[in-house]
Amino acid sequence: MTNGWVDIKNTDLMLIMGGNPAENHPCGFKWALEAKRNRNAKMLVVDPRFTRTASVADLFCQIRAGADIAFLGGLIRYAIENNRIAKDYLLHYTNAAFLVKESFKLPEDGVFSGFDAKTQSYDKSSWNYSPGDASGKALHEPHAAAPAHPAPGAPPPPPPSMPEKVAYDFALHNPNCVFQLLRKHYSRYTPEMVARITGIPQAEFLKAAELFTSIRKDGDMKKVATIIYAVGWTHHSFGTQIIRTAAILQLLLGNVGRAGGGVNALRGHSNIQGATDMAGIFDVLPGYLKVPTPADGSFAGWMKRLTPKPAKPGQWDSFNYWSNTPKFAVSFLKALYGDAATKQNDWAYDFLPKVDRNFSWVHLWDNMYNGIVKGLFAFGMNGVAIGPDSSKNIDALKKADWLVVGEIYPDETSEFWKAPGISLEEMKKIQTTVYRLPCAGFAEKDGSFTNSARWLQWKNAALPVPFGCRLDQAILAQLFLKVRDLYKKEGGKFPDPILKLSWNYTDPANPALSEVLKEINGKALADLEDPKTKQQIKTGQQLPGFAWLKDDGATACGNWIYSGSFTEAGNLTMRRGTEDPSGLGIYPNWAWSWPANRRVLYNRASCDLDGKPWDPSRRQVWWSEAAQKWAGNDVPDFKADSAPKDHMGPFIMNPEGVGRIFAPLAAFADGPLPEFYEPMESPIDNPLHPLQTHSPVVKRFKTPADKYGSPKDGYAVVCTTYRLAEHYHYWTKNNPVNVQLVPEPFVEIPVELAGDLGLRGGEKVKVTSARGEYIAKALVTRRIKPMLIDGRKTYQIGVPIHWGYRGIAEDAGKTARTLANLLSPTIIDPNAHTPEFKGFLVKVERV
């Protein structure tokens, strides 16, 4: 989240879309209701189903699953057409005025400029700003020579970069300025088009557009709107671009950085924010450092690629915080390899694995299916149930040599070899060795979780692990030490990174997590002094924050964004101060928030150009003329002494210093502006460009298990998967209380579709996709209505995911032993690589 849970109470208007927080985040959702109660705030909910969230909305629109970009693009068009935009904010805090290269082409035919159909990818060199002179006028660009075929083995040409001085038109008239491109791009998203794609009738859409943009009526900047989403937006083959569209809308209306505003990813599970921050995913290292590639060649090459230079109108200033990347990277390698990481050996850069392909979740299972992945550790991660395409994942595990599952309950993954449908004969042929290790539950472990508001909160262990179980960190540590011993004794392939990894915990076989957090926070490896304040940090002391990190080996830090969480003052994630002097729900002394204990990101944008809050009743930060510094109720997310007249941009992590409406160059794989594409399995051709229905860069997987359906094959009903308030993923099927609340799986079916099928509530229904079938009882409801999609009557159904073949009801034979993800397709978003769990096609039959 750019903002936080309690902050939602400050809003005047909520668009909740791609999320169902009443159901999935009930305790955070109270702050949305608090805004309604205390500020008469309005709530607009857009969802394929009339959900529990919709039940308390002021306006609900039923949308076809996956049509979100069309709806949001329609809102952008409406805001521009009706002049409900934040003019000053747009001009000074976004790249609206920047000029884009003339060779850039909008996707009127479905593809942006630079598309290569053979590789299904883009040459993004035209997705760039024009270089400008001092007055902002575009400089004449020499025509780039046609790319010659490089000699084999030659280093690849350097990727194009942004111009240091960007051409601009502050009048926003130039047809190549970002604002005009935006206007032109979304001019096609008329209410008629929105209705054709989304199924939301024009009148309903116009009501929603009027409501959402009403906060900028007559250019008034006092009111704020927030956008709240979750996996309903990420689970698509264009998920990242849905979120981009929302971000653009929020920039256009001047809602980012402000109390009660922002673009708020609710995220899903307890510590997936922390897992992302800590790089539990293949493509980053802790603190969002992109992994090195083989082509980087050296530490310097890696840093050159990762460290941006400012790109902005000449007279503006840009903090460009990622310019500090080498400090973060060196400190990280010092934390990992200690004395074995030196300037002479390139900070042990060689020890890091180099990544040049996609090794993300669905690829992992595909690579296992294809015999590349031979051993899998699954610690609290039930890959068979999670899918997509559970039967492909089961088949993949059959081909693996070994599987190690760490769990607290018996799960589908550890018992893939006895999944329903596998005969005893077949079981004998499955050669996979499976270890199942009993782990500790949450109450038995300490450590910190990071919530979706970026708060790191320490939890205490309440009771010992049950007899026979072990702490996860003890299992990992003992295993690592055993592997290291084997390499010590026997030697083997490239043992150095294993032998030299720093593992200096008081009890190496069971590291105390507080010691680990200290290492993550970082410490001084030499005496340090701040040249300005003369503040000193002695060797061995904990660092007060990431501003102290060095690129010369004088500091070690496991994750720069968590630096400041465990200082000489102690473990700040344990803080429990309940004071909130501003009344804005900032709680500055509760736990610790990354970065630098800031609660609302980009909060400089909550002030006008002079540094005064847009709304004096919601004062977050402000420029103090007396102190010549930024001050505030929150920690300013800005260079503290940069005076407003210097015109430093508030979006300090972008080299431009401003928010990106147009995202240049390699930022996204599928386009610098979001375009609506149909889900991989869609009931219609894309009304915007029927010849380019799907995202041109989305690729299908190619094993025999990867099957995709279309209306031609009889798959014509749109299916979406989701979660219920009563259950948590695949855990609570082991908890009698939750089983009591919702005892068995069901499929939500519109009354009209049930009528067509002669189906009554409680009777069994079979849902079939190209991958598999799912049989459960029907919940016949008026909460999903048939829709008119591109003139055609279209049904949607919903499948909650919480069941499998191991659980209380499953084991008792009281329910179907089946997985919802037998239905979902192996299709992923090209940016975030998240699977398309929502908006695929099925058939529905009465059993």
Binding site: W5, G268, G375, L376, P438, Q457, L501
Partner: protein, 193 residues
């Protein structure tokens, strides 16, 4: 099944009024207020393991942390000081007691051997030794030092780690350290999906 009229007379008169006639002071028994079950239990502050709101929870365990006590959970409720949940919990958080104390918990290491149709018990030592040997064997057989173009890549594509959503930051960090040092690139988490 409803009680018979005879039951009513028996219970109502003999059980109740008889005693009063005999001079016992029944007054204290008119209303036996139930005692507060958590009155002297140990209270530990923790964080709910379910969604990303991260509600504060209070876990109540038997005993006062005296040496001769093995704590066991008796109740879980919301932490009223927590700024976000302010003591509230959802139906999943409110049922955490039965997540902690649950007869379905796994409590011993097990192995399923190739071709087998059942689990066998295995000691922790044997399990970890076998796994460590498999890791080394797999790594040594498949480690990639250079790619086709001759660039150093030092990666291991044959072993994958998938981490769960309740892994703490510290555990995730240890996973990154251990797995990246082996060269693991298939490193994924619930965070992706």
């Amino acid at each position: 099944m409803h009680p018979t009229r005879r039951d009513f007379l028996k219970v109502g008169t003999i059980g109740g009024l008889a005693a009063s006639v005999l001079g016992f002071d029944l007054a204290p028994a008119y209303a036996q207020l139930r005692t507060l079950k958590i009155a002297r239990a140990t209270e530990t502050r923790s964080t709910c393991p379910y969604c990303s709101v991260s509600c504060g929870v209070l876990i109540y365990t038997i005993g006062d942390k005296a040496k001769n006590v093995t704590p066991q959970v008796i109740h879980v409720e919301g932490d009223p000081d927590h700024p976000i949940n302010r003591g509230t919990l959802c139906p999943k958080g409110a049922s955490l007691e039965q997540d902690i104390l649950n007869e379905r918990r796994l409590t011993k290491p097990q192995v399923r051997r190739p071709g087998s149709d059942h689990w066998e018990d295995i000691t922790w030592d044997d399990a970890l030794n076998e796994i460590a040997q498999r890791v080394k064997k797999t790594r040594d057989a498949t480690f990639i030092e250079k790619d086709a173009a001759g660039h150093s890549v030092n990666r291991l594509e044959s072993i994958a780690w998938t981490g769960g959503c309740t892994d703490t930051n510290e555990f995730n960090y240890l996973v990154v350290k251990a797995m990246r040092s082996l060269g693991v690139v298939h490193l994924e988490n619930q965070a992706r999906v």
